[in-house]
Amino acid sequence: MTATGNGAPAPAGLITRDTPVGYELTGVKKKAVIQLMGSRLWGRFNPNHWDPVYAAETGLKAPIQTGEMSTAYLSEMCVNYFGRNFFTGARMVCKYVNSAYANEVITTHGVVREKTPTDDGYRFKVEIWAQNDEGEKKTVGWVEADV
């Protein structure tokens, strides 16, 4: 998978022009660690993301991840599979359908659904989602990129 030997994705990604519709991507797996959910990156101005007391007061069973976290996990998977093509003319649509709670393990998934010929290859459409270990989908959507 790596071209440089330093852990970087293959520059062209793992999806090639020959990849068929129905191909399943291997995603990434992350734990919703409270310390990361409370990072200054996310602002800390919304305690629903890191404070169990505030979260309970607003009706949540636990602090929830920002949606951007699962979007980042899904885009990491997409960079692995599309490589540099994910940075030039790609599209990513995500809907946050369920909250990802602290301490849940989130795994991303993807399946190639469409493959449309272009002037210089194919435009792939991949259904993507992120779910917990019980199979509850947290984020659903799709991406498109040229190969």
Partner: protein, 177 residues
């Protein structure tokens, strides 16, 4: 007697850490408004963001993405050119999407505590070099109610301040309390 969760349920804390946390949370709620009330359709806001190597590392670490393409800063080396398929280090593709949030409302006012990001439709048009300064521009295009929930929709663009390159566009929804 309070029977809900405790501040230190999910991470170990001493009494002083718990007290500081409770004071901080209380300070956030005091001036907060509903996001719905903070935004009017047609509102346009724009800010510049310098995508420093350290900011990119902050993001990448928070989402545990250790792709070397994003490293314009490395311990011991510190600032470096980096390496990616586009030459030097680049910004993770969805990083700027997170910072659109800071331009969807008047950031000089208290944050609308309790609002939730629910949807985005993002177009990643060109790689952003680490070190670039971008202008994030947003426009509120719709406020709507769906299943008795209030949403605010924005469109956003991210362009390079120096070259004018359009890097990224997005439509995104925020659920307001």
């Amino acid at each position: 007697m309070y029977e809900g969760p405790a501040t230190d349920d999910l991470r170990p804390m001493t009494e002083i850490q718990i007290r500081q946390t409770r004071e901080f949370v209380a300070s956030l709620s005091q001036k907060s408004q509903a996001y719905w009330d903070m935004v009017s359709v047609g509102d346009e806001l724009s800010r510049e963001l310098h995508l420093t190597p350290e900011l990119v590392i902050l993001y990448a670490d928070a989402v545990e993405d250790y792709n070397p393409w994003y490293e314009g800063w490395l311990m011991n080396t510190w600032h470096k050119q980096g390496e990616s398929p586009f030459g030097g280090a680049i910004v993770p593709p969805m990083l700027v999407s997170h910072f659109v949030l800071s331009v969807q409302f008047d950031h000089t006012r208290p944050f609308a505590v309790g609002s939730i990001h629910t949807y985005h439709d993002s177009r990643i048009l060109a790689p952003i070099p680490v070190g670039a300064t971008v202008r994030i521009h947003t426009r509120a295009i719709e406020k709507f109610v769906k299943r008795e929930r209030r949403y605010v929709r924005h469109e956003a663009t991210v362009t390079d301040v120096s070259t004018g390159t359009l890097y990224f566009t997005e439509i995104r929804d925020i659920l307001s309390r």
